[in-house]
């Protein structure tokens, strides 16, 4: 069965280990600005919300890519950027309504969560269990997918 990231904001303490782990895993540096996961701080409510790609079924990024540079990894189900095909046009960064595909000026390519090939560093290093890697059916991210279906400009089943 495919697995997915499960994110429970209630358990997040804002320690930012996930951002550092992601950045180190992908870029070899501890730099939150290079992370594919981002923790949003809501100071007014004293809450933290880790946020990254849900590998959504709609895959707006993949559909919008003009050169087939976003492909599904058959082992993990992740939508991955194929670096040597990406031309850096950034259409995926505006097509993704979750804002989870970003442009990396240093490489001229886009970056997004690739589930680290099946062992996501953010989940491995999360000390509180706010981020876990679990069977896809169980994830709280289903709610985000439902959200996606509701606001989808593409597909609204007609009566």
């Amino acid at each position: 069965m495919l697995k997915a990231l499960s994110i429970v904001p209630d358990k997040c303490t804002g320690c930012m280990q996930c951002e550092l782990a992601c950045s180190y895993e992908h870029e070899g540096v501890f730099n939150p600005a290079r992370s594919r996961i981002r923790v949003f701080h809501f100071h007014d409510e004293a809450r933290y919300v880790p946020y990254t790609c849900t590998q959504c079924a709609e895959a707006w990024c993949q559909l919008a890519c003009p050169v087939e540079a976003i492909q599904i990894n058959p082992h993990t189900g992740a939508k991955e950027v194929i670096e040597n095909l990406c031309v850096g046009c950034k259409v995926c960064t505006i097509a993704c309504p979750f804002g989870t595909v970003n442009y990396n000026q240093a490489t001229g390519k886009v970056i997004k969560c690739d589930l680290c090939g099946g062992d996501p560093a953010c989940a491995r290093y999360c000390p509180t269990g706010a981020i876990t890697y679990v069977d896809a059916d169980l994830t709280a991210y289903e709610r985000m997918r439902m959200w996606a279906a509701r606001t989808d400009t593409q597909a609204q089943a007609s009566a």
């Binding site: 850096g88 606001t151 597909a155 089943a157």
Partner: protein, 425 residues
């Protein structure tokens, strides 16, 4: 069932793949009018900039269509007999269809000025154009770019990266006038000028003439004459309506493009249209609109295909969106960035840092449009907020104070967080 698809751009290709998955028994024939592998026009500037080779422009890997059982046919469809459900190909053969998708895209507009047929005057639209431009746009060549719209600006970067001496002529009062307001357009122009590009806005090209064996003279308003080895024309695109224009008689209902209903169906129930050739509706106003953009083309291709094989899926309308990287400055626009009647505008500009954010809300506190300059992080959430079409509640006031908090607003307004529900204080 026998499906024919006229046009192998992004809309046609996505439609063919969707039809194949949705109707495994059917015949799916994809007609490509150019004698080239199926390629992406959007990738051409990156080819010119030496970032990729021609293979990098291909929309799909070799063998992809054969492997899926999609019949790729390199024949232009010349005409359609609607009554008999028959198309005529360029080689004269006729083919029957049960359902036809017209995805013939757009073609570049040719401005009505003298000299547009001279050697050295090129559109930048096809791989053939790209090869011709590459031959003339050499380091040190003098090049004039006519038109600083979205396509013009992508080509602008490619030409600069090729090392040419570039002059840009734009008829309107600013660069990318369909994508940026005066503030954003001025930032982009200042940025380009700092990079050594000469930009003349509010200037018409009056005509072009030969000024030597390999040199052109580009005559502009106010008496300026620009000598050039190459003139690249990027003055907009027009839907390819050849198939529906039979002399003076139009066979399908058309406006600026082929009119389609929310199921991408034309006025002929067995004919659908998708992509740059079709006139859909605006996602917000419901008014008829042709937005010739990649994301809309692929969405329409997918929806047309599902409806063609009897799976009713309604399109909620096209959302304009563009992103441009001009020599390192990223500019983005979404939706009704010029605002809507009764709405409210929030703007933060830092010209010295080439940063700008403009958000437009309607009278119900819904986000309806945005302009972003120099702040590309998480910019996709603007699409999410626009599509959500829900009042922003407390986040409206927060965004009015701090418009850069768009990603937080999106995360807070989505159900996963249990936070900042639109109605909460």
């Amino acid at each position: 069932m026998r499906y024919l698809i006229a046009g192998a751009g992004p809309a046609g290709v996505v439609a063919a793949e969707t039809l194949r998955r949705a109707d495994p028994q059917a015949t799916v024939r994809l007609f490509c009018g150019e004698q080239e592998p199926v390629y992406s026009r959007m990738a051409i500037p990156y080819l010119l900039a030496h970032k990729i080779d021609e293979r990098g422009t291909w929309l799909r890997e070799p063998g992809h269509f054969e492997a899926l059982g999609i019949e790729l046919v390199h024949q232009r469809i010349e005409s359609v007999e609607w009554d008999t459900h028959t198309v005529r190909r360029a080689d004269g053969q006729r083919e029957h269809y049960d359902r036809l998708l017209i995805a013939t895209g757009a073609r570049p507009a040719t401005p009505p000025v003298p000299g547009m047929d001279l050697p050295g005057v090129r559109h930048c639209w096809t791989l053939g154009d790209a090869r011709a431009i590459a031959a003339r746009a050499r380091p040190g060549s003098r090049v004039v770019l006519m038109g600083a719209g979205f396509i013009g600006c992508i080509i602008l970067e490619a030409l600069v990266l090729r090392g040419v001496r570039l002059t840009v002529i734009e008829a309107e009062d600013r660069m990318v006038p369909r994508m940026m307001d005066a503030t954003g357009g001025a930032m982009l122009q200042a940025w380009c000028e700092r990079k050594g590009v000469r930009v003349h806005t509010a200037t018409q090209v009056l005509g072009v003439e030969r000024a030597g064996s390999d040199t052109l003279a580009v005559h502009c308003e106010h008496g300026a004459v620009h000598p050039a080895e190459l003139l690249v024309v990027a003055t907009g695109v027009l839907p390819n309506l050849d198939l529906v224009a039979d002399g003076t008689r139009l066979s399908l209902e058309t406006g600026r493009g082929i009119r389609v209903d929310p199921w991408q169906r034309s006025s002929d129930p067995d004919v659908f249209a998708a992509g740059d050739v079709c006139e859909s509706v605006d996602w917000y106003s419901g008014e008829r609109a042709v937005y010739a953009i990649q994301p809309a083309a692929v969405e329409q291709g997918r929806i047309a295909a599902l409806n063609m094989c009897g799976r009713p899926v309604r399109y909620a309308g096209a959302l304009p969106m563009n992103i441009l990287d001009t020599l390192g400055l990223v500019t983005v626009s979404f939706g009704h960035w010029a605002g809507v009647p009764g709405g409210e505008s929030v703007r933060r500009a830092e010209p010295g840092r080439s940063r700008y954010l403009r958000l437009e809300f309607d009278e119900r506190d819904r986000l309806v449009g945005a302009i972003v300059v120099g702040l590309p992080e998480h910019v996709g959430v603007l699409r999410g907020l626009l599509q959500r079409r829900a009042p922003l509640g407390a986040w409206k006031a927060r965004l009015a104070r701090s418009p850069t908090r768009i990603a937080e607003a999106f995360v807070a307004c989505t159900a996963t967080t249990g936070l900042g529900d639109a109605a909460s204080p």
